[in-house]
């Protein structure tokens, strides 16, 4: 089963750096695993923690947030603000019991196609080690069925 399982990873890439970095990796034909689905965002500071949680709830196995290096933000300070959110959110999720490595962060500039590929390699590897996400995942549609009849709500997951 785990042999066939391939993690689904959602990557939030900032428009100005990391997205361009991914693009560069593509045009330079630098290979990276096909496990990531990219959502382009204006800035890594735009990431609302709700996005990450929602992705995890919908069964994504890992999340990567990537933005411009410090000092390179198109909006001057967006990545700095994002960095604080990331730091606290990452710690908090791990504290709750979400495995370390499910949610990862990176700085990738528009010139770093190679780095982007490396980051994706690493993230995919980490998440493969963790296995499919279980915590916080909402089981498709058998949820919420007559609450009083749910045998043991803990065993749902």
């Amino acid at each position: 089963m785990t042999d066939q399982w391939e993690p689904k990873i959602l990557a939030f890439l900032c428009n100005w750096c990391s997205y361009a970095g991914a693009d560069l990796a593509g045009t330079a034909r630098i290979q990276y695993p096909p496990n990531i689905r990219v959502i382009r965002v204006p800035c890594s500071g735009r990431i609302n923690p709700l996005f990450i949680l929602k992705a995890l709830q919908n069964g994504i196995d890992g999340v990567l947030v990537s933005g411009c290096h410090p000092g390179d933000c198109h909006y001057i300070s967006g990545n700095y603000i994002g960095r604080r959110k990331s730091a606290t959110l990452k710690r908090f999720l791990e504290y709750l019991g979400i495995e370390e490595g499910r949610v990862q962060f990176s700085w990738v500039s528009a010139a770093e196609g190679v780095k982007f590929s490396q980051v994706v390699h690493e993230v995919v590897q980490d998440i493969k080690k963790l296995g499919p996400a279980k915590r916080l995942v909402k089981r498709s549609l058998e949820f919420g069925v007559r609450s009083s009849e749910i045998k043991n709500r803990d065993s749902e997951l």
Partner: protein, 353 residues
Amino acid sequence: MTLKLDKKDLKAFLETLMEEYDLFAPVKLAEGVSIYKKIDSPDEVDLSTENPQKPAKEVFFPQSETMFRYEKAGKRYQMTSTEGVERERVILGARPCDIQAFSLMDDVFLGKEYKDVYYGNKRKATTIIGLACPHPLSTCFCSSAGGGPFLRKGSDLFLIDLGEMFIVELLTEKGMAFQKNKFFREANTKEISLAKGIEEKASTKADASVPIGGIDRRSDLMMENPFWDRMHEKCIGCGVCTFLCPTCHCFDIVDEAITDKGQRVRNWDSCLFPLYSQETSGHNPRPTGRERTRQRLMHKFNYFPKNFGRVACVGCGRCILYCPVNFDIRQAIKLTSPKEIKKVKDEVDLTRQ
């Protein structure tokens, strides 16, 4: 008919019960916290707890309940209702207050024009084993609300805890079906009189002095009274009192969907939430806590009596016990006396800017 059930037989009794029925009973979730829940193993059942936080209404009217599922097939939808109840059910250990509340819920859900099948099917399939309340709390005022700690009405079977055993009374046809149950034996006169003694003692304990009688008429003139300006002040607008109330029955209907599959679900809702009455346009007919608190109390003590002839409160005291800010419904009721209303009105007038 009065029988008895030895507590050492309780587990075996429940086991046989569970062969035939889906059993619902109080289950302790944490120290001091319990709910009614479907039982998987008789060991879960805890009849020694206080009245559970969440009322027994959840057996008929779950907090979150699927109404139907659907799936898209081409251009059409395949819809499947989940109104059916597969097995007969038993509620074990519901207190008289919660059981009295069932009859109020019946008025709403099984009313003349429309019958709520989700509630009705479960209600019909359920045998109710009530449990007498030997130690009413100081917050209990069932005796003021037309009930009492030993009220048998609504129960099919009724249990009285004598320590080593339960006295079992068979009260209805559904109850009489248990007459031949191998774990029930005839109770002797000594045991019956012991139970009587407990009943007499308990009856004096539940507060019968909360002036609920006539409140529907008294509150008729209160709609625009400044009373409400003061009443709502401390309410923080959470849903504790309404969710834990055995008679509150408001709900929301929502769709939950993933791509082409989904379900329509109803969830408990509370008149104290702003969103409850908020319209899409942004207009809210009950814009502040004042109107929402008024809705909660007036629904119980004015609107409901107008529609069904009795108040929608059974005096279980949960809203008093669990309110985070100690909003006490008994005080609110007492304040509806004409003298008190005038006092409040004068005070408001005096300080109104």
